[in-house]
Symmetry: C2
Subunit: 334 residues, 2 copies
């Protein structure tokens, strides 16, 4: 059977949520562990995850290589792959890419809305593309096996990353801008380039990325998936719900404003709706993946295509992207 | 064939030294990566090692598990196992034990001469034994598979660690105080307790630990080994040269004085000989392990015993101590 994989969640983690992952048959999740955190703060968040892994070894297991998805399935657990939504975790030090990869970081966004040391975010007025350090870090991420995620990046930076990276990159959580023209959603040009390079798009169920917001219906969402499959090919798409379950609104403030402004940035929201928007009724938590699966069947996808979209494509992409723990060690002298 | 292992070196690393390791047939070395460094500084030193591993994959490979000694032998390389001589690298945060273990730290001294957060050093007037945090950290090191090294610790703290640890501890680089009564050398009481618990002693070739200092002869050194084998049993001893090759004297100042004093501490030296002492003529660098092997044969050890002392005992101890990278992951749900 094909695994069920979610390529982006950032929940207020708890035993309850881990049990919902099991109830929903979710075999692997890419979880965000840092936004604006510096290296030491990111390590503190890794320490928190180490405690979850120690406390709930019957529910979750840390994923380091794609094979760990199989391990998770065989042992009835969910494999948790760590990622960062901003490169603040590597500070100004390229050596931290390998260090964080060793600790399990398998995804890193080059930007989170704003200009970073590496590239431009989707909310900047000017997008300068990859910086000098950005090109170096992309090469280093390629070397160690860390996915370049451009979900929150500007158009030019994203096209630059697709062109410069020797491994296919990912947009783990966004939807086509042609369907819903949010700054965070992606143009057909980006989606074409992403698909042609072998990259992956994960469809977001976060209301600000949905036409109609929280009121978007499952049928509308699945129709959007079908149109994107026509555009990119069914092998280039998956799910990346952006589920921010049980988070207090103080967390969305941290995500948007970090320490870069003394004011309050509303990001995709606004002064009238500053908090987390309510999720659509058809996707409340990890137990609802079956509903998306049913919805995809109902808009005409075959059983095989649904399996690919619900996890098979991500599983293949993870295997291509992460290498394995012994990468370069056993082969070096042979 | 039995591997050749050195349980402590802290050289000014270079391609030349790595080539000398190969020329000397050294299959594994425990290298010190930090003395008084805090966590972030220790990570910088790990980054430096990552660069060595990337630059010289035909000479060295990072050791994570005892099996990596076999990998190194099969591929004609030296396995490098990382260690810290002080717990400053974990700061006041027990979660950093697992983090540093994941990054490859396989040894940590609970103290370096002075009182630490964990235990008392051999130069303190009062030895309080393991502290509250010390007992917690010993248990955590036991859990993840990091060796408790008491080479620079006080007597009571060392006996406490032996008693409290559920895995045999090590004294990677010291000699019997009964042979040469330096503060850094160990009493028969400690050596007895260490041997009975299944722990290991690594014999140091550092002049301050040798009777006669730099003038100590190979025969005298090997006689000392033979007397210690009588005391501890031949299965409890190995080599831990404390080779500090090519280091400038500024480094021994850092080792001794760190940031804990504004004055200059002379450690085992003195105002009249503040720098690194010259190594004995029979052990200049990694190419001289064959001379120790010959010397041990000449004081009457059998071929088998020499092989055990030169590496076989450490290989067994590493296998007992480190666990493997998948420790706890594959077994948890079974």
């Amino acid at each position: 059977m094909t695994p069920r994989i979610d390529a982006l969640q950032y929940a207020n983690w708890s035993e309850r949520i881990f049990r919902q992952m099991r109830a929903g048959g979710v075999d692997a999740v890419h979880v965000t562990i840092a936004y604006h955190e510096n290296f030491r703060e990111t390590v503190l968040n890794i320490e928190s995850w180490n405690r979850w892994f120690e406390r709930f070894p019957e529910l979750i297991v840390q994923g380091f290589a794609a094979e760990d998805i199989d391990l998770a399935r065989q042992t009835g657990r969910t494999a948790i792959f760590l990622g960062a939504q901003n490169p603040s975790c590597i500070e100004d030090d390229i050596g931290l890419v390998e260090v964080l990869h060793r600790l399990g970081l398998r995804f890193m966004q080059l930007t989170y809305n704003n200009q970073s040391l590496l590239a431009s975010g989707c909310y900047e007025a000017e997008d300068t593309g990859l910086t000098r350090m950005g090109r170096e870090v992309v090469a280093e991420m390629n070397r160690v096996g860390m996915v370049i995620d451009m979900s929150h990046s500007g158009e030019r930076s994203t096209l630059d990353a697709i062109a410069h990276s020797t491994r296919p990159i990912a947009i783990t959580h966004a939807n086509p801008a042609g369907w819903h023209p949010a700054l965070r959603n992606k143009s057909d040009r980006v989606l074409h380039a992403l698909a042609e390079s072998g990259g992956m798009l994960g469809f977001s169920a976060y209301p600000h990325h949905l036409r109609g917001g929280s009121d978007c219906t499952l049928a509308e969402f699945c129709e959007m998936v079908a149109r994107t499959a026509d555009l990119m090919g069914v092998s280039r798409i998956g799910i990346g719900t952006d589920l921010c379950q049980d988070q207090p609104d103080s967390v969305v403030d941290w995500m948007r404003s970090g320490r870069w402004t003394k004011a309050r940035d509303y990001g995709e929201g606004g002064a009238d709706n500053p908090g987390f928007p309510p999720m659509p009724e058809w996707f409340r938590d990890n137990r609802d993946f079956g509903r998306i699966e049913t919805g995809l069947r109902e808009v005409g996808f075959s059983v095989e295509d649904v399996a690919a979209i619900m996890g098979g494509n991500w599983a293949r992409y993870f295997a291509q992207s992460f290498g394995n723990l012994n990468h370069g060690r056993r082969e070096a002298a042979q």
